[in-house]
Symmetry: none
Subunit: 401 residues, 2 copies
């Protein structure tokens, strides 16, 4: 992985266009009955055509054996070493809810949860209350005032919301209050460094007040805090890569991540067809588009092999709409693997295809984990993908004389 | 290679079990008459089966083109960057002779050698004297006293022994006194840093006294010092990986290395069958087993192609005994290559197979250098193997949100 400082010196502004299509959680594992992965099972003529015309390989998102969260998985695809550049989950969530996070703000990802009379958690997700109920409860939480601190409560989907605290002396990181298990009481907020002392105090006070406000709101009668963090100072893609990048993603976290590296987040609908309509509508305005497709990951997380296969097929069917725009470089990959049989993210390297006029195609016949393992691109760090895409778009100058 | 500090945060204690079988010096080169390597020549149905069911690749022990010693070769397999974590040969030898090396002890690997009247070396191994003679001479050397220094003399096999010096002011590293060639005199012990000054003095005094003691013991009438070093402070596997690891190895050096990373060294016999009996007997007690098989390396070092083939076949025949224990992850590889035609360690990457339920098998048909070069695991740093084994045993949490 080359240093961003070097890329900054080499990158050129040109009219060529790059599209990065992220099929979230793309990589899989064989179904026990068939011995074929989700990707091998899917009928995906367009991805296979890309693989035949392009160059394939496997991406290692973080490092061998390491299972990435969505944050590190995406930062790597955007060209950032995910070990060096880390982002707290609270920050991602707040950004994804279109909150204009400022330097110094402390953000947390929160859940409504259920506690019994003795304060012990019986459901960490409050029975996944409807989003409307969530919004109503968030309005109540907004009435909580703490001297010297501005508080923003941002409802998300089902039981999820984000909380942002703004004020003097709020710094550092604070440990989660979510014990990650039912049968335990929520933990106190504890600072992870002296800088977080005041932050922990404020959060503990907020939680105590929230408990009183929510006392009659069973099953959502308590809250849990996770990923309490501040916005990291990431170099912007416009500075490093001299791109004018846009993000098309319907889920909050991915929009948030895109904002963090300075992408313009475009308004879009919730289906892949909507996203591609947005891509077409804004085609002239940007030279880099990150398009996020969530259905593959959701199906994998649910352990639904057939639905993941179907999600791949649905994405495949619309790929001609991207090709019709004639991008100079089209990259299709995932931010990590989510094998249905593991019902979660995994460490397995992720298939990738880079399709461009200059990609030195490698004779791969289909787009699958096995075919990509034999692809000419080899097995590379995911953060190496961005320089490869830039190069294929003829956007990088020679290094050295 | 990910930092051990990060692995420490991600690793989980679980009931799953990992077996690392090290066929020492496994990798080879083609026989000039047949064009087939030792591994390609051997009849090894069990290794081939593992390769077909698992995922194969090549391990680079240290770095491209670098021939590793057994120390770096093994440290890498245990997950430690062998360039960052180095271990002196003296330390390894002393540990392998079951010596309880303490912080600050200076250890050396020594040889009895033969010198002529003028002190010039005529045989660096003193005609490989019998181990009994070695033990007798070591008893004589034990009578040497140096003020302020405690001295431990530990007989090994044939002409080899270890010397350990304990006392105030003994620090740093000291260069070898073995000139590595006959026809030269032994060198003076010279400190490699100011901290080694007193150590060099003590060793030179010891050698002078030993020369007098051994004057009548031709062919073992002098001694040579190598690998003069102190125990490095390696993080223990129990801390980094939250494992309760055990080592099964009949040769001193490998037991020593295992101790250095905190493995429990199990008593075992000298054959591979003995080692596997030990594995079975202690199966319930540990979650990680390092099993060392020496015969492949010895044959390679002797330049005996046929014997190395036979050694591979002997190991292969007993692999079902490991599989019968049903390990969650079985890894078979070597610490380095030892091609018979080179009669020594080499820089060539080492075949590896990772066999587990979740390994994403890659369709490799046999276990050989060539097949592994096309394996889905790719060509990876050996120190990346441990996170991969941990991941396959579901012993690593997700990195980042």
């Amino acid at each position: 992985m080359i240093d961003l400082e070097i890329l900054k010196e080499l990158s050129l502004r040109t009219p060529t266009k790059i599209v990065l299509l992220v099929l979230d959680g793309l990589g899989g594992l064989p179904h026990p009955n068939t011995g074929q992965t989700e990707l091998e099972t899917a009928h995906k003529p367009n991805l296979d055509r890309l693989a035949a015309e392009g160059v394939c390989g496997l991406l290692v998102p973080v490092s061998s054996g390491i299972t990435p969260g969505s944050g590190p998985g995406h930062l790597a695809l955007f060209g950032y070493d995910p070990i060096r550049y880390t982002v707290g989950r609270g920050v991602l969530e707040a950004l994804g809810l279109d909150f204009d996070l400022q330097d110094g703000d402390v953000a947390a990802r929160c859940n409504y949860c259920t506690v019994d009379e003795s304060g012990v958690i019986t459901d960490r997700r409050a029975g996944r209350i409807p989003s409307e109920k969530n919004a109503e409860l968030c309005r109540k939480l907004r009435e909580i005032r703490i001297d010297g601190t501005e508080i923003f409560i941002l409802p998300g989907k089902e039981h999820r919301f984000a909380a942002v605290f703004r004020g003097k002396g709020l710094g550092g990181e604070v440990a989660d209050t979510d014990p990650q298990k039912v049968g335990l009481k929520p933990k106190e907020a504890v600072p992870l460094s002296p800088a977080g002392a005041r932050t922990a105090e404020v959060i503990n006070e907020f939680i105590a007040r929230a408990r009183a406000v929510l006392a009659g709101s069973h099953p959502a009668n308590m809250i849990l805090f996770r990923g309490i963090s501040q916005r990291p100072n990431l170099p912007r893609m416009s500075e490093v890569f001299k791109l004018n990048p846009a993000a098309i993603a319907s889920y909050p976290m991915y929009r948030g991540l895109a904002k963090l590296v300075g992408m313009k987040v475009l308004d879009t609908g919730s289906t892949f067809a909507d996203e591609l309509k947005t891509l077409g509508a804004h085609w002239a305005e940007h030279d880099y588009f990150y398009v996020h497709y969530k259905a593959t990951d959701t199906a994998g997380e649910d352990g639904d092999f057939a639905r993941k296969v179907h999600a791949i097929e649905e994405a495949d069917a619309l790929i001609p709409k991207i090709l019709a725009l004639n991008p100079d470089v089209l990259v299709v990959t995932g931010d990590h693997s989510t094998p249905a049989i593991l019902k979660g993210h995994s460490w397995h390297p992720v298939p990738v295809v880079v399709h461009s006029k200059y990609c030195r195609k490698g004779g791969t016949k289909e787009f699958s984990e096995k075919a990509c393992a034999g692809g000419s691109l080899g097995r590379i760090r995911a953060a190496d993908l961005m320089p490869i895409a830039m190069a294929n778009a003829l956007k990088l100058e020679k290094f050295g004389a």
